[in-house]
């Protein structure tokens, strides 16, 4: 049996690693996507004062610290049984939507987008942000940098620090904004909305007008029929910060809708001895292994999943795009993994529109930003949508609010099973007897998991380059028969 190793594919709490095993006929027997690192926040957060967790758990991920900061703050609110005043909630939501718009931008232009904008068959050396700039025009590069710069500026005002925010605490936020600050943020938000529209347009022009790309999106090699998860508001519209978790089945019918404190009735995690990451699955369906379909508890939690699990977007421009996407791709739900990129730009626009609405809300400059907790702290769950999936923080404390238990189900982790399946499917589709394994083969396998924007393919990919990929084909004695490098 031959073994192909892709090591490292780069980070997700460390560096991922793919092993592909071929059988004697040269076909894919199995694939393993391993996560080689563990940091243990669940354990070392125990004993800490619970109000410190929004400042500690940010360090789970420097790419999306905002998501951990918010999920953690919401879990703290729940632990203390407090409801932050409306201004505080709006400030948190404003921060969160600005972050979402920025994060999706980086992913779309620098990481996932190049596959489409430059083209999936373009040489690796061009499938990067520089290639994007070359194709779409020089001002795009400048715009992407400006988008980052503006979002980071807003995050610093609202969160205290641009990375690893500090302002959310049980019962509210530590700092409000002045009229002048609100005016300034409004200007940024107007710019974000324009940028969102521009991005949608670019996606239309480059991807949708190219039948080859649309076919690729819809091709069976990149589809999985799974359950879909996403946070929704009272009207079942997408919400990143608050609401109930809604899960739809592979036919798009509501399977369950649960509030944060019911997550344990709905989500379980499966452990495998060959990887440090656990596999979450729908408890009521059960773990059937890495397979799709209605009988398998595997679900996805991605931008596309959120759209699949909702009845629409909360803002007008994004709603129009939402309708367009489903009519183009043949109705809900969409199973095509690569359509996640489309969903992502729709969310980008929606986040920008939301942010603009929030900053224009007269309450945003209110001064009542804290509810001081008075009840004895106990236990609480906080859920937000991270860009990479539903994020759950669950804390239990003693009567003094010192943490006794922590459970975390992190964005990308939700998608561990589907990512593994997508890699497997792509590998099976591409590696065939007699067909040489080339760099192009690797590109396609990479594309399969890149659509999920797993954290290892994080927003840091803004410089020219690619994730390092090496495939080694071993024979049964471990001798290297062949080696392909990505150059």
């Amino acid at each position: 049996m031959k073994q192909i190793k892709i090591d490292p594919i780069t980070r997700l709490e460390g560096h991922g690693k793919i092993d592909i095993f071929l059988n004697d006929d040269g076909e894919v027997e199995n694939t393993y996507f391993q996560i080689p690192e563990l940091r243990g926040f669940e354990q070392f957060c125990v004993g800490r004062p619970v109000e410190e967790l929004p400042r500690i758990t940010t360090r789970i991920c420097g790419v999306c610290p905002e998501a951990h900061h918010m999920a953690s703050a919401k879990a703290c609110d729940a632990v203390f049984h407090v409801d932050p005043p409306p201004t505080a909630k709006k400030l948190r939501q404003l921060l969160y939507n600005v972050f979402f718009a920025g994060d999706h931008t980086t992913h779309f232009y620098a990481l996932g987008g190049p596959d489409f904008i430059v083209g999936p068959s373009a040489p690796a050396s061009e499938r990067n942000i520089l290639g994007v700039v070359k194709k779409v025009g020089l001002e795009v590069g400048g715009k992407v940098i400006e988008m980052r710069k503006r979002t980071q500026a807003v995050l610093k005002v609202l969160g205290g620090k641009q990375t690893h925010q500090v302002t959310s605490l049980p019962g509210g936020v530590s700092k409000g904004i002045t009229q002048e600050e609100a005016k300034e943020i409004e200007q940024h938000c107007l710019w974000f909305v324009e940028f969102g529209k521009f991005t949608i347009q670019a996606f239309n022009d480059i991807v949708l007008k190219n039948q080859e790309y649309v076919d690729l999106i819809l091709s069976d090699a990149f589809a999985h029929k799974t359950y879909y998860m996403g946070l929704v508001d009272a009207n079942n519209r997408v919400n990143f910060y608050d609401g109930m978790v809604r899960v739809v089945d592979p036919e798009g019918k509501e399977f369950v809708k649960y509030s944060p404190n019911e997550y344990l009735d709905n989500i379980s995690e499966h452990v495998e001895s060959w990887t440090y990451l656990k596999f979450p699955f729908l408890k009521k369906v059960g773990w059937k292994g890495l397979v799709d379909g209605k009988d398998s508890g595997v679900y996805r939690a991605t931008p596309l999943s959120r759209l699949n699990a909702s009845d629409g977007m909360p803002t007008p421009f994004a709603q129009a795009e939402y309708e367009k996407m489903y009519s183009t791709l043949g109705g809900k739900p969409v199973h095509a993994t690569l359509a996640t990129h489309w969903a992502r730009v729709i969310e980008l626009l929606s986040a920008a529109e939301m942010a603009l609405d929030l900053v224009r809300d007269p309450e945003i400059t209110g001064t009542n930003i804290r509810t001081i907790p008075t009840e004895i702290p106990t236990e609480g769950v906080g859920i937000v949508e991270a860009p990479r999936g539903t994020l759950t923080h669950h804390y239990t404390t003693d009567a003094k609010g010192m943490v006794t238990k922590v459970n975390l189900i992190v964005g990308t982790t939700n998608n561990y099973a589907p990512i593994s399946m997508s890699i497997n499917k792509a590998a099976r589709g591409l590696i065939k007897k007699g067909v040489e394994v080339t760099e192009g083969t690797l590109n396609m396998i990479e594309m399969a998991f890149r659509a999920y924007d797993p954290c290892f393919g994080c927003a840091t990919h803004t410089l020219p380059g690619q994730m390092p990929l090496i495939v080694r084909i071993h024979d049964t004695n471990g001798e290297i028969l062949d080696e392909i490098k990505r150059n």
């Binding site: 125990v46 605490l169 344990l264």
Partner: protein, 321 residues
């Protein structure tokens, strides 16, 4: 003249240090222009093999972030050490273990038990499945690195020339360091802290300080603080006095106490010990019983005083008891 060669690497890192490098925005183009970036796994396509093939000391500057948690990271640290003229421990994790270093409050065994067994969403099969370094699958064998019991800072594993503190280092400070290197001005003596200043966080903090006399400590969620007065004066444990200046007192400006991410101030080895002296001198009591009562109000001294620096503190980790 050939451009100087730059390498960036992350070990047990959250990625925030890398983001911070990108947060110098357009100036990143100056970096790309001034340096030949030879290794940056998160952003560019160069492989370990390529670095391994390089001559010793052929990399001029290596910015290394993240703490060291397993043999794989240590191996790469050693390799980069051999290939680099100057290695910089970049960010709190590399410098002093950082937040991942809080794992030194507990044990590997407890971490594995909690993550793979005790957490309520985890399904345990036959008494619990734990990740194994070598797994024999029916198709063949696959490996993952073994976790270390104790998290280490970079300089506990390899020799380091300079240190840049912060979680993450602030972009202006990063730019100042890079700009210094680009300018060709002579580098400071080995062991220097770069990208920070030589006072304490309090010196950068705009809040008014009085003579401190504290009878009661509060936790951040318990009270609404005055935005202009020193937080410590108001009874909130603030790491300002035991923290190096350099960030511009970002947290206290946002009405939250400092948690010490810039590491200990000049000439201080142990941030926790420093904080013990700082607080001991402001507690307003000479009665042993009252002192004990006041000390009781300080929630979690270990996790607060050593939030970022436990792995690099004098005692490095908590003993199994």
């Amino acid at each position: 003249m050939a451009k100087p060669k730059l390498a960036l690497y992350w070990a047990a890192s959250c990625g925030g240090c890398e983001i911070a490098v990108l947060d110098i925005h357009e100036k990143i183009l100056d970096v790309a222009a001034a340096f030949d970036i030879v290794f940056w796994p998160c952003a560019m396509d160069f492989k370990y093999q390529d670095v391994r093939a390089m001559e010793d000391k052929s990399i001029d500057l290596c910015l290394f972030n993240g703490s060291i948690r397993n043999s794989e990271a240590a191996e790469i640290a050693h390799m980069l050490r051999a290939k680099s003229k100057v290695v910089v421990a970049f960010g709190s994790c590399a410098l002093e273990g950082g937040i991942p270093g809080l794992a030194n409050l507990t044990t590997k065994e407890d971490i594995l038990r909690v993550v793979y067994k005790d957490t309520p969403s985890t399904v345990t099969q036959n008494g619990g499945v734990y990740p194994q370094t070598h797994s024999k699958m029916k198709e063949g064998s696959i490996e993952i690195p073994e976790l270390w019991e104790t998290v280490k800072s970079l300089d506990q594993v390899i020799d380091v020339e300079y240190y840049v503190p912060g979680c993450p280092p602030q972009p202006e400070q990063i730019w100042a360091v890079i700009e210094h290197v680009i300018s060709g001005r002579p580098l400071p003596p080995k062991g220097s802290i770069l990208g920070a200043t030589d006072k304490t966080c309090c010196d950068e903090c705009p809040r008014d300080r009085k003579e401190k006399k504290i009878k009661q400590f509060y936790r951040p969620f318990e009270i609404q603080t005055d935005p202009n007065e020193c937080l410590l004066d108001q009874g909130m444990v603030c790491m300002g006095p035991a923290t190096r200046s350099g960030c511009g007192a970002l947290c206290t400006k946002a009405n939250m106490p400092c948690r010490g991410c810039y590491g200990p101030p000049p000439h201080i080895v142990d941030q926790g010990a420093k904080m013990v002296s700082a607080l001991a001198s402001v507690i307003d009591s000479t009665e042993p019983e009252e002192i004990e009562r006041i000390l009781d109000q300080i929630a979690d001294p270990m996790g607060t005083f050593y939030r970022f620096s436990l792995a690099h503190s004098i005692l490095r980790r908590v003993e199994k008891v």
